[in-house]
């Protein structure tokens, strides 16, 4: 079957892409558009390293056909990184050592962003609940949880 043209909004810009049938958003981003912040840790929906936001909702881009996002808004880590500088969530991950190898980090930040967009004052339980689909082998999660708590404080103007 022939490739299809799909139009959607990526990181605030409307784009038109030509994709083979059933190409995933992950493959499109990484291999066709060169946006490699979206990782490919398992392609099974099991690690969360490929998390992107679709209309603000976290989704596993490895399980999502591009044709399914026709007309939708897709956001990747590239899309929330200001130029110059860092998003508050990026800042706290960096400053709080919530990163080690860095491979899970983009997915973790995207989930954090979706959480804080919905809930500017998440409790520890809510943060943990939001993170259960994202895998990290290095940090033991605690620094990530604490970074999100700190991000919430800073976004609410209570940070240092």
């Amino acid at each position: 079957m022939a490739s299809k043209i799909v139009t959607f909004t990526l990181n605030g810009r409307r784009i038109e892409v030509l994709v083979k049938p059933l190409t995933t958003v992950q493959t499109l981003l990484r291999d066709q558009l060169g946006l490699t912040s979206t990782k490919a840790g398992c392609k099974q929906g099991g690690c969360g390293s490929c998390t992107v936001l679709v209309n603000g909702d976290p989704m596993m881009s490895c399980l999502l056909p591009v044709e399914d996002v026709q007309g939708q808004e897709v956001t990747t880590l590239e899309g929330i990184t200001p130029t110059p500088g860092l998003h508050i969530i990026q800042e706290v991950f960096y400053e709080n050592f919530a990163i080690q190898c860095g491979y899970c980090t983009p997915g973790m930040i995207m989930v954090s962003k979706a959480l804080l967009d919905r809930n500017p004052h998440p409790g520890r339980e809510e943060i943990i609940d939001a993170l259960t689909g994202n895998y990290c082998r290095c940090t033991g999660y605690e620094p990530i949880i604490q970074a999100i708590e700190e991000a919430a404080r800073r976004m609410n103007g209570n940070g240092n």
Binding site: M1, K43, G45, T51, M59, C62, P65, V111, L131, G133
Partner: protein, 278 residues
């Protein structure tokens, strides 16, 4: 060079027509959380795939005493179903957040065990399924839907388009036991609805998952409770019966032996939770 075809129908009509045209070799995909990993990993190579995300089936309506759920409604949408707390609980215990945003109620009905926990909750609520083909529509009870491991009562050309759930009149409880507390396959899942007339059980539905070829009813346990009071003695008897009648399997997370043990523990805990809620 890519011979694969992906269809994304914009309505149920279009979907059933495509299904009629392309026949049983077309893979019907809902949220993609089950099919896509197999395709990505090179385990399955379907040449024709139909995705239903655009078929207009992501709705929840609430006509008189019934909740009607479009088959493509996501598990995240179920978190808002305040009328039926066990569906909220069941949905919340599927996957992580992103998976719940993708996985659908309809898709969960086809998840091979030990997945398919949400379907067990639906079974305890006596959900009915609407099956649609180009020939028309019919309603079937979820309990009758399953015919074996990965086989259902779906006829060729039929799609599950809607799940109809009566708002429970009895007391309900849901417990999923996995090796960890979130985003994990079940060792066993128990969903129960018990209707009581004073002390006596007038009607009971106990559904189990991960201990059979598909979500199953613990019929013998239900019979034991029927007409009896719900107390520790009858609960223990029902739990033992459920452990005896279930058909557990061994996999990477638990053995048949352990699953059977946990059926007894978790049926007891689930029913006890119902008595605690009185």
């Amino acid at each position: 060079m890519n011979t694969r075809e992906y269809f994304l129908p914009q309505s149920v009509n279009e979907a059933t027509q495509l299904l009629a045209k392309h026949g049983p070799f077309m893979l019907v995909m809902a949220g993609g959380t089950i099919a896509m990993p197999l395709i990505n990993e090179g385990i399955s190579f379907p040449q024709k795939v139909m995705g239903l995300r655009r078929a207009g089936l992501s709705y929840v309506t609430k006509p008189n005493g019934k909740i009607t759920i479009g088959a493509m409604s996501t598990l995240t949408q179920m978190l808002d179903l305040k009328e039926i707390p066990i569906l909220q609980e069941a949905a919340h215990q599927v996957g992580g957040w992103a998976i719940r945003n993708m996985g659908t109620v309809g898709g969960n009905l086809f998840a091979p065990p030990p997945a398919g926990d949400f379907a067990a909750a639906l079974m305890a609520l006596d959900a009915q399924l609407k099956l649609v083909s180009t020939a028309g529509a019919r309603i079937i009870s979820l309990t009758d839907f399953y015919t074996g491991f990965m086989t259902t009562a779906l006829s060729p050309g039929e799609l599950v388009t809607e799940i109809q759930v009566p708002v429970p009149t009895g007391k309900t409880a849901y417990l999923k036991y996995g090796r960890k507390h979130a985003n994990t396959p079940a060792v066993v899942t128990v969903a129960a609805q018990i209707e009581l007339d004073g002390e006596g059980v007038t009607n009971s539905r106990i559904a189990l998952n991960a201990v059979g070829p598909h979500p199953i009813r613990a019929s013998k346990a239900e019979e034991i409770l029927s007409g009896s009071p719900l107390n520790p003695t009858t609960i223990n008897m029902a739990a033992s019966a459920a452990a005896e009648e279930c058909e557990p399997f061994s996999d990477a997370i638990a053995t048949e032996w352990y699953r059977r043990k946990m059926v007894e523990v978790y049926v007891r805990r689930t029913l006890t939770k119902i008595t605690d809620r009185r």
